[in-house]
């Protein structure tokens, strides 16, 4: 017992004098060694061989867990999807993308098409237009041609459905682009115009498709930016001719139907065509500031169009006028969650001895108004649309948007306007945010019958892709 106590005491004394061992101190020695000899160490390794994976942690290999075994069931099931996405998609796409990037093929192509200086060049054009009908073409452009601000464009595109456009324009910009003068000549031949008759009661059964050929010359002056106060004035002369569509969706040429159901002289120009002088005046005022400033504000657009037939035997005289007022409220200022309301009203005055061709009537439907319906689905002497939209940020380059609109086309001075004759449409989609005034929209929209119909229903569904101005 005495011996035990003696040993314990000695042990305690020894222990008391001992230093704490810090396991991290060992690392310092190794670090110092590594610092001193930052050169290759050990025997050379042969190419193609790998060194063994070291067990640095020094723990025995853990036995596999049950979940590791069970995971093989879905892995086997999903294996074809893995093979497809990895080897049929990712690998070939990777090789292609890396080749393009490594050899700067995009830069070379851009350099080639812009003739090496960016102020002029030739660009391929792919246009996806109404009904997602793709057209391909070329645009030759030149900026600052011999004079600062003097630009020119020549281009043409076509598809295999009798659609073709070609045009040339010159433009002169001055005062930091604040004032622009331009002239344009164009030829358009399109086979995909639709006409369901005029007024609010048209039905899908009345569908007519027609071909239109239009040759046009135009002079235009623009003052002011898209934000703030601005105006543009243009004078245009055009020659318009029509034929039945070759579109297989239009089973028969429905020219007689156009004549019959419209029951006005309006459609008489279908067979004769017409030559028109048209003057357009657009003014706008927009108080919204560009992002990232809050998106609240007001926009007012006022539009007027005067049309006069240039053939003695065609008594065409009309004035289309109207506008829209929009209010935007950034719900939490700066958050870019914007609620907006728009009211659009347009009307047409026709001279006492005059007429208006059906193709010059007010139209609704398409990318900008009544988006649940085809472009120019509604024709009339007057039109009214009320729109409610909520847009909200979803990405650095995109907003989401919800849209609800009611509206329709009516006879002159909204003569046969009834609330029950309005149609509704609802859309949800995305839009680009680069500008508050112009956006590329992708929208899925549903359109309804008129509200007073006994069997009120959603009778249109559309996916639209296009450029939207203003609202």
């Amino acid at each position: 017992m005495v011996l035990f106590l003696l040993l314990s005491a000695i042990s305690a004394q020894v222990g008391h004098g001992a230093q704490y061992v810090d396991p991290l101190q060992e690392a310092l020695t190794t670090t110092a060694e590594a610092k001193e000899s930052a050169t290759p160490k050990g025997l050379p390794m042969q190419q193609g061989h790998k060194r063994c994976v070291p067990n640095i942690e020094g723990r025995p290999k853990q036995p596999p867990q049950l979940v590791d075994g069970l995971l093989w069931v879905p892995r086997v099931v999903l294996f074809p999807l893995y093979l497809t996405t990895e080897y049929l998609v990712r690998w070939p796409l990777g090789i292609l993308a890396k080749t393009v990037e490594r050899y700067k093929l995009v830069e070379w192509a851009t350099n080639f098409t812009t003739l090496n200086d960016g102020d002029g060049g030739i660009l391929p054009l792919l246009r996806i237009d109404r009904g997602f009908s793709p057209a391909v073409g070329l645009v030759l452009y030149g900026d600052n041609l011999g004079w600062p601000g003097l630009d020119a464009r020549v281009g043409a595109d076509f598809n295999f459905e009798r659609n073709m456009t070609a045009g040339a324009q010159v433009q002169y910009r001055l005062l930091n682009d604040w004032v622009q003068f331009g002239a344009r000549f164009s030829l358009e031949r399109r086979d995909d115009f639709i006409f369901y008759g005029t007024g609010p009661r048209t039905t899908d059964a009345d569908e007519t498709r027609f071909f239109r050929s239009k040759v046009m010359g135009l002079l235009r002056a623009t003052v002011g930016p898209t934000a703030g106060l601005g105006a543009s004035l243009s004078v245009e002369v055009s020659d318009n001719n029509f034929e039945c569509s070759s579109d297989p969706r239009a089973d028969v040429c429905q020219h007689p139907l156009i004549l019959a159901q419209a029951n006005t002289p309006t459609t008489s120009f279908f067979s004769s065509g017409y030559t028109l002088l048209r003057m357009k005046l657009n003014t706008h005022w927009d108080s919204r500031a560009p992002r990232p400033k809050p998106g609240g504000g007001v926009r007012v657009d006022i539009r007027g169009r005067f049309g006069k037939g240039l053939h003695v035997d065609q008594q065409i005289v009309f004035v289309r006028y109207g506008g829209e007022i929009s209010g935007f409220w950034d719900v939490v200022p700066g958050s870019q969650r914007v609620l907006s309301l728009r009211l659009l009203i347009e009307n047409t005055w026709v001279g006492s001895n005059g007429d208006i061709p059906f193709a010059e009537l007010i139209t609704l439907g398409g990318v900008e108004t009544m988006r649940g319906f085809l472009h120019a689905r509604f024709h009339g002497r007057s039109a009214v649309v009320a729109s409610f939209e909520y847009r909200y940020p979803i990405w650095s380059f995109l907003d989401g948007n919800l849209l609800f609109e009611v509206g329709n086309a009516f006879s002159k001075n909204l003569g046969n306007f009834e609330m029950g004759l309005l149609r509704g449409n609802f859309g949800i989609g995305i839009r680009t945010i680069a500008s508050r005034f112009v956006s590329v929209d992708l929208l899925f929209a549903l359109g309804t019958t008129t509200f007073n119909t006994r069997h009120f229903k959603i009778d249109h569904a559309r996916l639209t892709l296009g450029t939207n101005w203003g609202f």
């Binding site: 190794t30 050990g42 060194r51 879905p74 892995r75």
Partner: protein, 549 residues
Amino acid sequence: MRDMGIVAKVLIIAGVGLLACALPMRRFVDQPIIWHDADQYPVVAPESYWSPLMWDVADKTLFMPLARSFLLRRAGRAKNINALGEVPNSSWYTNRLTVRRMSSQEIVAGPCSPQGGAPSTSSTWRALSGKTDGANPGFVIEDTHDGRRYLIKFDSARQPERATTADVIGSKIYWAAGLSTPCNSVVYFLPGHLVVAPHATKKDALGRTTKLTDEDIAQAISSAPRTEEGVIRASASLFLEGKVLGPFTYEGVRSDDPNDVIAHEDRRELRGSRLLAAWLNHFDAREQNTLTTFIQAEESTLGFVRHHIIDFGDCLGSRWDSDEMTRRFGHSYYFDMPHVALDFLTLGLIKRPWEQVRIAEQAPMFGYYGTEAFDPVAWKAAYPNSAFDRMDDQDAFWAARIISRFSNKTLSALVDAAYLSDEDARNYLLRVLIARRDSIVRTYFERMSAMDVPKIKNHQICSSDLMQDAGLTTSAARKYQVRTNGGSWQAPTQLSTSGFCQDVPTQGVGAYIIVEARAAFKNGAFSARPVQFHMIDHNASLRLIGILR
């Protein structure tokens, strides 16, 4: 009798089983802790790797996650950690702040040699090559004084002094944390100081090599901010040693490097560097901002590959033309499908952190680099990074412990090394660095019991509280519990000035002992995960053979 035999066998097996349960599970073997991963065997130089920029973004954002999702891989623990959970020295990593205290002077000197790391302003700099177009022009220069080569880069007019500050502070912080970085310094020079070398070249946008001219230099430096005296500020990055082999990737291994056997996404230093990136908002932490060099042995063609992190110019609040995009840096990927889809479907009703960020009035040069919406757990690089994505709590704790060791004094010295001309901006940057550091450290130290690697004397182990070491709490506000070999939780034998000491009774030579410890605030519950110290009883003293967190 036969039945009795079976009963006896069952009883014996059950008894052994119970005994096994009562004894601590031997997770570690009694061997020295490995502090060196021998990945520097002499090998033939691997092929140079070219990294695609656009494809890397598209692949990591869309294609790779889609394809790999069908493999249902489980992210495991880091593969290159030693028994203490530390990263051994290798061609990737050198233990610095992990294992010792470093002075502010040492950290500020960083990877620069004692001779300094900036080109001499008393000698002429010869521009050898350059990238003169684009948003970030730069030159490779040679200091005629000593022949050393540097990459010179400038600040943008929109954010004067930011990029150069970021390059200097970022490189030194990463270096002190243990990674290899170039020696970056802020330099000032007059335009005439930089002359074109006779055979200097530049690459244009099409990759064509043409002659570098005086006009190119004049054009490139024309937009660089200058002092009132016309002096230009730039960052000078000293060329790294060895032959350049291109970037390393954040996933997989290099097939033609025999030393490279641990998948990069399983390297703790790369996983944990996510927190370094979060601290500095190094959102551009992608493979193109890494570099490998081949270190050749003397008189031999053989050598090994060394791995570096380079280019920190995006840190500390880089602003791009798109404000919508800039706000999202650190919070969302360039294209973050879950964010986009959720915001679309919820009609934008979720308030996002990037809506809360503000540009500080006293330091607009630092853009949205601030503290308002900083969340170290949710932080994201500009696009998915395989190593960052696999960071687990252990990796994060490892990195947080390193970050906690950058003292306020050291950070102040680092900021001073950037020579900011505006005192308000300097103070703002220091405040933000400190606040973000504390946010990271607090977050991960509260998730795990933040007890340091214990020191051992005979049969007493003493562990300091990292939370106290970091200055985030005091001993009066902390409490600890300890248990041995799965026994009941008890207060430790004694409290030390920053932590506790525990006497561990001897259990015989060779006994395997696990001491678990947990820490909490006095007014809170012991919710953090306990840390396990695995030891072997060597009679006279204990020997630490492993730590599990």
